[in-house]
Symmetry: C2
Subunit: 209 residues, 2 copies
Amino acid sequence: MNKFQYDKKGLLIVISGPSGAGKGTVCKALLKEVRNLNISVSMTTRKPRIGEIEGVNYYFVQENEFKKMIKEGELLEYAKVYDNYYGTPKNKVLEKLKHGEDVILEIDIQGALKVKSQFPEGVFIFIVPPSMEELKNRIKKRGTETEEEVTKRFQSSYKEINYISKYNYIVINDDIEKAVERIKSIIIAEKCRVDRLKHTVLKTIEGGI
Amino acid sequence: MNKFQYDKKGLLIVISGPSGAGKGTVCKALLKEVRNLNISVSMTTRKPRIGEIEGVNYYFVQENEFKKMIKEGELLEYAKVYDNYYGTPKNKVLEKLKHGEDVILEIDIQGALKVKSQFPEGVFIFIVPPSMEELKNRIKKRGTETEEEVTKRFQSSYKEINYISKYNYIVINDDIEKAVERIKSIIIAEKCRVDRLKHTVLKTIEGGI
């Protein structure tokens, strides 16, 4: 019997937003709640710190290897922070998707836009704080920055929010449980989207009964 | 404080699909489970049957009134079945949406396509049966039709499935609970879609802190 079926491939879910929006907290809570969900592990040229495990915290590589991967388009995105490179290895992500696992990528806005250019079929979720006032408070509370740095960081977040139209969804992080619930719903709904499913549905129909 | 907020307007959720897909059963189960969800009540020129209540089963009107509404574009869609008109009054739907209530419209494919042309911001969900074989069985089981009528109805369903690309979502009705769960997720996810939210988010940002 020719049954209708959902696509067996997993989804790449990109969780992004300005610093201070709480993407990290949201992702942690989401991973606790949802089975069959993986977080994408970054690749870096920085040396492992004590306790860091290869393939769990990062994939640790040499700079020449990293540069080779850039050259051969094997990274979904990358950035240089001070002297070290950080990036998302494409193959590791594609492998998991192929096996039907959904992959979460928690990343800043610049990184998310780069991923989108290479993988437009990803699901791009923008996390916003409850208010801009709250965002400023959160940046301040980190306490590691001077007043000037706080203002600079806030202004940068302020500008970055204008990129929301490049995303598919906005989730307001006013309540962590609600935010997680919404992202869970987005994942379920995306698997039902016509663009992802119509191909297999029409193929099933062509197969006759 | 300028808080980020979800849109206060409700969603029009159009649940459609070939006859035999089980849209009616899915809608009933959905209405039982979800608060703040209304089913759109049709307008008709047919006489009320015993027990039918105005505004619950149908809005009952005279033919000249119905024709006036057609002329003035006050119906989201309408059809003539034998001697009677049936249609969806636009104002009743818009009023509920304005008050933040989500409205479910259960309708055949032709009707859904008409609604889409007038209300493209609706959420269009196509219900498919578990398989085309199962669809044929379901049509047969109704037992009210001759073999010829069953074949005709099945062929019509077969053709209609080609309209899926006009919809936003496909929900496979292989399990009623799962189908309801998916539609619930679609409703939550749609409220987070950037197209619906970015306007209010950007306005909040413009408002400053």
